[in-house]
């Protein structure tokens, strides 16, 4: 191997004009006040970090959403609204509605009815301000051959003239909102958690983008913004929620939130409203008269990968 002087650790430390010893003795001598050089270096590094991360200092010191006080939340919302108005030229609503009392959300999908038309995929993209390029879609519609339930044999890239195709069935998969979610357990900074109404959410400002949660999720229910999300300004949905569909930034993880901005004000999620065959059902698991409760009581249901004990609140059912 060729010898490279610059990469030799010994020669480096030897050549360095200001070694650690000298600096520390300097500090001690001046009674813990940094000298001008150290002070300037510190200021420069803080300014540099702010410049590189391209975020305001308020964002830089912002707390986790769960630990914020009422005033801090209000200030943050005001700041975000201002940011979004500058970026998209629209007045945004950034909701922070809490869970509705006595609600635990569940979802059911009739895989006998689903025809695989992907209307839900695109309704979700428009409602939840997902990046168009690079493309992020919370719902994957898997196409299986009849009689086969092996995920390895399924495809999401089917594109015939018309659906449903004979001999195939379709299974849309999105975040299953597990009651025992592996994704929230692995988060090293607690940027993702389960809300009291059962929705698994992400605080995008607290997320460090390590993607542990994506590795932990057995349903591929989480998506990472590898690049700055691109959404046309005329396609942006300005009715948002802090924990839901507000515009995301680069290097954060995002996911389906059952349209938290809709369900927290009593509306159905966008995918339920758009499904042309009525295969998607949503409701309150704690209400014995809700659609979802009746489905679980009366129909044959199953949950994906139930052997993993993730306990999804997303049920697949057979209506007949």
């Amino acid at each position: 191997m060729r010898y490279d002087k610059s990469s030799d650790p010994d020669s480096l430390s030897g050549d360095r004009p200001y070694d650690n010893q000298g600096t520390s003795s300097n500090l001690e001598g001046k009674n813990e006040l940094p000298d001008r050089r150290t002070f300037l270096a510190g200021v420069a590094s803080v300014l540099g970090m702010l410049a590189v991360s391209s975020c305001s200092w308020q964002e830089f010191v912002q707390n986790n959403f769960q630990r914020m006080t009422k005033e801090e939340i209000d200030q943050t919302v005001e700041r975000l609204k201002k940011e979004y108005r500058e970026k998209y030229g629209k007045d945004f609503v950034v909701g922070t509605e809490g869970p509705i009392d006595n609600s635990l959300f569940g979802y059911a999908l009739d895989i006998q009815r689903c025809i695989g038309c992907r209307r839900c995929v695109y309704a979700c993209v428009e409602e939840n301000n997902q990046s168009r390029d690079p493309q992020i879609q919370y719902i994957r519609v898997l196409q299986f051959k009849d009689g086969d339930m092996d995920f390895e044999h399924s495809t999401i890239y089917y594109d015939p003239q018309e659906v449903p195709q004979d001999g195939y069935y379709y299974m849309p998969v999105q975040c299953q909102h597990c009651a025992n979610p592996p994704c929230t357990k692995v988060c090293p900074v607690r940027a993702t958690w389960t809300e009291p109404d059962g929705i698994v959410v992400v605080d995008y400002n607290w997320c460090i983008g390590c993607r542990y949660c994506m590795a932990a999720c057995p349903y591929m229910g989480r998506w990472f913004n590898f690049a700055e999300p691109v959404i046309p300004a005329d396609k942006i949905n300005p009715v948002t929620h802090y924990l839901g569909n507000r515009p995301r930034m680069k290097n954060v993880v995002e996911k389906c939130t059952f349209c938290i901005q809709r369900v927290r004000v009593g509306k159905y999620p966008a995918c339920v409203e758009v499904c042309p065959v009525g295969a998607r059902k949503f409701g309150n698991l704690l209400d014995p008269d809700s659609e979802i409760s009746k489905i679980i009581r009366n129909k044959r249901v199953f949950r994906l990968k139930s052997e993993l004990n993730t306990q999804p609140k997303f049920y697949y059912f057979f209506a007949t």
Binding site: I100, S103, I115, G116, C117, R118, R119, V121, Y122, Q135, Q137, R140, I156, Y157, Y158, D159, P160, Q161, E162, V163, P164, V263, G266, K267, Y268, V272, E273, C275, P276, V277, G278, K281, F282, G283, N284, D287, S290, E291, K294, I295, N298, K299, A319, T320
Partner: protein, 198 residues
């Protein structure tokens, strides 16, 4: 307050009866008049006797009133024979239940403004056609009432918009039509030699 409400009700009833007489001619039986009057009352209070609030979907005005052509003394007498040529109604291609079903298995033979009654003997309004659908498709009807079959929009904990059977299924041709799917997701970048294999 009471008379104020009562007067328009009576007026509407009288107008309705008179209108029915003019439309159907003097040869109409008295029983028929009473039936029409009762029906009018029912229309005035459409949601009172319903199990749950559903949108009312009356027949399109272009082909009503049916009595203009169909009736005991009109040009088109009741014909129970199954045939392919439906004359005026040639826009309808009946494709429901194969050869086992015919127009008059749902439509009332003597009064085309109604559908056939259930066992209670009361003719079914077109607006409540789901009751008639439930006559054959009982299990589906039960699921629909529970919100399992069919689609609802609106609010999961409040007012819902019900989609009726006929909102999605054409009663004359109820099977769902295939539709074009939305575009598939973009494939992640892969080397060309790998793309060729898949």
């Amino acid at each position: 307050m009471k008379p104020k409400i009562f007067i328009p009700l009576v007026t509407a009833l009288v107008i309705g009866i008179v209108g029915a007489c003019i439309e159907t001619g003097p040869g109409l039986a008295i029983a028929q008049i009473q039936e029409d009057a009762e029906a009018l009352k029912a229309i005035q209070a459409p949601t009172s006797d319903q199990e749950f609030p559903v949108p009312l979907r009356p027949l399109p005005q272009t082909i009503t009133p049916c009595r203009a052509c169909h009736g005991p003394e009109k040009d088109f007498p009741v014909n129970f024979k199954r045939r392919e040529d439906l004359l005026v109604h040639n826009n309808i291609r009946l494709n429901h239940g194969g050869i086992r079903l015919w127009c008059l298995d749902c439509h009332h033979p003597d009064n085309r403004n109604y559908l056939l009654p259930l066992s209670d003997g009361k003719n079914i309004e077109f607006e409540q056609s789901y009751l008639l659908c439930g006559k054959c498709h009982g299990t589906i009807y039960r699921d629909w009432r529970d919100g399992i079959h069919g689609k609802r929009t609106g609010s999961w904990n409040g007012t819902k918009n019900y989609y009726l059977c006929i909102t999605c299924h054409d009663p004359h041709n109820p099977k769902f039509k295939p539709m074009a799917p939305m575009p598939p997701p973009k494939k992640p970048w892969t080397p060309i030699e790998v793309q060729a294999k898949h």
